[in-house]
């Protein structure tokens, strides 16, 4: 069995308003940071997972992302995978 460290990034789809991102952008500007054109907040989920090779593990992560980690009505996801 191989073990993998997976980092999943879940983001609101570009078409979905991100009020928390907008509020943080506003605070960033108040802090004095210049030049911020856009600021959107997502989630990062770290998973350690075992499986027989990368393909099998990708299959499991795809299922998790599609059915649980992200709501694909409003969110997109991507992930990186590192063999431990």
């Amino acid at each position: 069995m191989d073990q993998f460290a997976v980092k999943v990034f879940v983001r609101l789809r570009p078409s979905v308003l991100d009020p928390a991102g907008e509020a943080t952008k506003s605070a960033s500007i108040k802090l004095g940071a210049e030049g911020i054109k856009s600021l959107r907040i997502g989630k990062m989920i770290e998973v350690k997972i075992e499986g027989n090779g990368e393909d099998e593990v990708r299959g499991k992560i795809d299922l998790l992302c599609d059915r649980l980690f992200a709501n694909t009505v409003i969110e997109d996801y991507e992930y990186s995978l590192e063999k431990l």
């Binding site: 308003l17 009020p19 928390a20 649980l68 709501n71």
Partner: protein, 221 residues
């Protein structure tokens, strides 16, 4: 209808289950039974309410974890059999997460947790959940949510409009919901999800009775 029983689902974090039971039993004389979320036996209930609250602490997303409970797994057959399911607030979020209703509910546009009475236009008569006669009807119900902004893509919205699945629209949209949507039904009409709380508007002494009709309609076939 004296044996008619409404199952009120209790998740860890539900907090409107007793309100719903009080409104059904105390105001409408309809028998209720609490259903723990780990139960998958729905054989002795005739309709189901998914109440408001914060199931599983709203971890990940509202309703995202509740969707995997044995009870929600058993709900598919219950819905297909034509029995009625009402999802209120967190219950609506669970119904969208689990795919019984289209779209999703996410953070209010203004980031506030909004507790207020809102005026709602009854849009569709599908499922008979609301008392709408010939004239356009407006009701007033309380809302209490931080993540009640209904969102769906344009194709879904068109489908909702074309098939008369939009049950309620806010008169003054409080949360940024697409098309002012406050509640929708499935195509068959036996599943209704709404953000406002009808169970909190069942007695004049607590501010109104506009919620009675919707709870009473649980007994419709």
């Amino acid at each position: 209808m004296e044996n008619f029983t409404v199952g009120v689902v209790v998740f860890p974090g539900s907090n409107c289950d007793r309100d719903v039971s009080w409104a059904l039993e105390g105001c409408l004389d309809i028998r209720t039974k609490y259903l723990w979320h780990e139960s998958s036996d729905l054989s002795d209930v005739d309709a189901i309410v998914l109440p408001g609250g914060f199931s599983y602490g709203d971890y990940l997303r509202c309703g995202a974890i509740a969707r995997f409970s044995p009870l929600i797994n058993a709900l598919d057959e219950f819905v297909k059999s034509g029995k009625r399911v009402l999802g209120i607030c967190n219950g609506f979020q669970i119904l969208t997460e689990s795919g019984f209703l289209p779209g999703a509910l996410t953070t209010n546009k203004n980031l506030n947790f909004i507790c207020d009475d809102v005026e709602l236009d009854i849009v569709s008569s599908k499922g008979g959940w609301f008392n709408n006669g010939d004239e356009k009807q407006t009701i007033k119900l309380p809302i209490a949510h931080g993540e009640g902004r209904y969102h769906c893509d344009s194709d879904t919205l068109k489908k909702l409009v074309d098939n008369e699945l939009i049950a309620l629209r806010y008169k003054n949209n409080p949360n940024g919901s697409s098309f002012d949507i406050a509640g929708i039904t499935n195509e068959k009409g036996n599943v209704l999800g709404l953000m406002p709380h009808p169970e909190r508007a069942c007695d004049e002494t607590i501010g109104g009775t506009d919620g009675l009709f919707t709870l009473k309609s649980l007994i419709l076939k």
